[in-house]
């Protein structure tokens, strides 16, 4: 294709991407470098049904004047990135100097909000992703070998977790694992421990969230692999059979290599999706036990009442950088494959 033609072909997509993806990221990056103006405070008295109290209010006029001079706020450089709520360089340095063992140092590290969230986010990503790929392939192979009559209904049922809205799906599970719910009560019976509760301890909370993550992402990898299985070449399979390969050997040496591009594709999507895990933490009301990077962004924007845009922007950019780190190995692999094929 001529370069000129190619340019006109992708212009609509390109402009949409610039407008809706690149520019917002630039805007977030710029905002993350600024913090709010110094607030002009006035000490006053406030009265109500329960009596009067001394209080402080913001002089909104004076603050508005500051704001109209510099709408973005005060320039703070990378200060927000290095403060305690994010990379916490000085706190880490302090911990390194004052702690005696590596274990103590890691305890101090995980006490910092960003690293505690990163720990959960990475654990979630690296446990959920492989499970989703392996189980998704297993289900796809299983369904592919079913008699034709059962295939349709089985596929439909397997896709249900994806059809249910994530928030609703998580809520349903939240009630089911409650001590009075069907799963929670069953577990108590099985382990004969009436005080067993999945929501009570941090480790069980993580397990619950990870199981939910696998459950909700499985249909995606299943349906991709199932589609891939329809394209496995019959000739190669027959040749392998004639050579005396067992079912398992055919699976490992023929089917899996054939599906490798799909594995790469699903890994890419899953790493990205899982790294920004968010909904289950809200639905399971699990923030006392597990927080993710996305949860921190949400918390900065919502829970503080008056949003901390700089803080949320910094965490957003750090999340993007994190995703880039995770994807690099996979992308390098894809690039090599691409070059090898084109030779």
């Amino acid at each position: 294709m001529k370069h000129r033609t190619f340019f006109w072909f992708i212009l609509p997509t390109l402009s949409a991407m610039v407008l809706f993806i690149a520019l917002p990221i630039v805007s977030v990056a710029v905002q993350s470098l600024y913090i709010e103006h110094e607030q002009v405070l006035v000490v006053t008295e406030s009265c109500g049904p329960f009596g009067c109290d001394e209080t402080t209010t913001i002089d909104t006029e004076a603050t508005a004047a500051l704001r109209s001079e510099q709408p973005l706020g005060r320039f703070n450089g990378l200060g927000t990135y290095t403060n305690r709520a994010h990379l916490a360089f000085s706190e880490i340095g302090e911990a390194w100097r004052t702690t005696e063992s590596l274990g103590d140092f890691f305890n101090e590290l995980l006490n910092l909000p960003f690293y505690w969230a990163l720990a959960f986010t990475l654990t979630y990503t690296f446990v959920v992703t492989p499970f989703v790929i392996v189980l998704g392939l297993a289900i796809a192979v299983g369904v592919n070998n079913l008699p034709r009559l059962f295939k349709g209904p089985t596929i439909f049922i397997s896709l249900l977790p994806m059809i249910v809205t994530p928030l609703v799906g998580a809520l349903i599970l939240f009630w089911m694992v409650d001590a009075d719910g069907v799963i929670g009560a069953l577990l108590q019976r099985l382990f004969n421990d009436p005080s067993l509760s999945l929501k009570a301890t941090t480790s069980l909370n993580w397990v619950m969230l990870i199981v939910y993550g696998i459950w909700s992402s499985l249909p995606f990898s299943f349906i991709v692999f199932y589609a891939g299985l329809q394209t496995v070449p019959h000739d190669t399979m027959e040749a392998a059979m004639i050579d005396g390969a067992t079912k398992w050997q055919r699976m490992i040496h023929v089917v899996v290599p054939h599906l490798m591009p799909l594995v790469v594709f699903i890994t890419l999507i899953q790493l990205m999706d899982n790294f920004r895990v968010f909904e289950p933490i809200i639905s399971f009301q699990a923030e006392a036990h597990a927080r993710s990077l996305s949860w921190i962004i949400y918390n900065d924007l919502i829970a503080a009442g008056n949003p901390l845009y700089g803080s949320a922007g910094a965490t957003s950019l750090l999340t993007i950088i994190g995703v880039a780190f995770l994807l690099t190995p996979v992308l390098i692999r894809t690039w090599r494959d691409f070059n090898r094929k084109s030779v």
């Binding site: 913090i35 709010e36 103006h37 110094e38 607030q39 405070l41 006035v42 000490v43 006053t44 008295e45 406030s46 009265c47 109500g48 049904p49 329960f50 009596g51 109290d53 209080t55 402080t56 209010t57 913001i58 909104t60 006029e61 603050t63 508005a64 706020g73 005060r74 703070n76 403060n83 305690r84 709520a85 706190e91 006490n111 909000p113 409650d178 001590a179 009075d180 009436p194 005080s195 509760s197 929501k199 009570a200 301890t201 941090t202 009301q285 699990a286 923030e287 006392a288 036990h289 918390n299 900065d300 919502i302 829970a303 503080a304 009442g305 008056n306 949003p307 901390l308 700089g310 803080s311």
Partner: protein, 413 residues
Amino acid sequence: MLLKNATIAGALVGLMGSAAFAAECGPEGQSIRVLGSDFPAIQAVTATAEANCGGAANEFTITLRDDTRDMMNQAQTPNPAQYTSVIVANSTLTQQMNDGLVRPLDDLIEKYGASLKPNQLITVDGKVMAVAFMANSQHLYARSDILEQAGVDGIPATVEEVVAAAEKIRAAGIMEHPIVMNASGWNMGELFNLFYFAHGGELFKPGTADPNVNNETGVAALNSIKSLTEYAHPDYLSHASNETQGLWEAGQAALGIMWGSRGGDILDDQGSSPEVTGSTVLASAPTVAGGSIPAATLWWDGITIAQNISDEEAEATFAALAGALTADMVAEHNDDAIWLIEGFKPGPAAEGVAATAQGGAKIYPMIPYINLMHNAASAELADFLKGDETAEQTLADIEAAYVTSAKEAGFLQ
């Protein structure tokens, strides 16, 4: 029902016949748009306002939803604002005032506020910024039958008595986890406020935005909370009002620290058994360590008028809402809330809040940076309650988290 019909009939007569009605509702043909939280008292106020003045207005919309605080500032910042009135509480009034989104109401009250009592007016810096219509606070819920069965005399009045009663209930084999309390997310920070205030603490150094929680009072407050959570439902860290109310109504708790606004729902004949509702007592929030301050914060809910709307819309909105805060409305909805309005007859559902307020509980502070402190406590307290951290470490973390966000928000340098 009869009363409701009478009100509507009255409104219709007014609409058809007299000019007095038009005057009560302010300028005609305006657009009135109200945002509020979804609970019975606010439903009653807004519905009454619409019944009275819906006809005089060109448009009358009522948006009642959960988590209004998450979106009210965004909705009110543009000019014109999305809502002409937001129904707020202590903390959300601060949130709105921080961005200058509500207007002073003094001139409107002069015109339309004849029926309001002086203690309904929330004044800041000498200007009325909101008109309160109901009060709320956390307080103790107790099951008198279970306490009796466990051999506890009377209703516990202090945290120490609550813990002792819980231990007796556990020892008697009646319940393993007799206490319920709200502790998820925002409620966690609120829990800290309750006990820190009850121990006599001040969140900030006087006259500044500097934090003041990492001290002995803070440690005492955390230990009080922990003494209660030892007996709390194992899942308490994920519990908010809906969960605790559910456990209470299911008869799975004997002592609870819950919101007064849930009293009506808990005592009514829906969702529970007569055994539970018949023996549920609403009492003052407990005091701690020989002090006299109940572990509770006092809250009000009230109406505000948006800054970024036309004066006519502001006038019509205020007239409609203030006109709904009458003895007639209260008479019809007496048990829906602890009304601050003339004509309220306190029933059993109001006893807990009334006792807590009389006991001298602190009002939830209306300070611009209170939300940042509250959020820091919500985020850091879990480590202590899970047993992963010492009280001192947790308090240091709360201060550090607060200072970080207060610097970004411009309150600290």
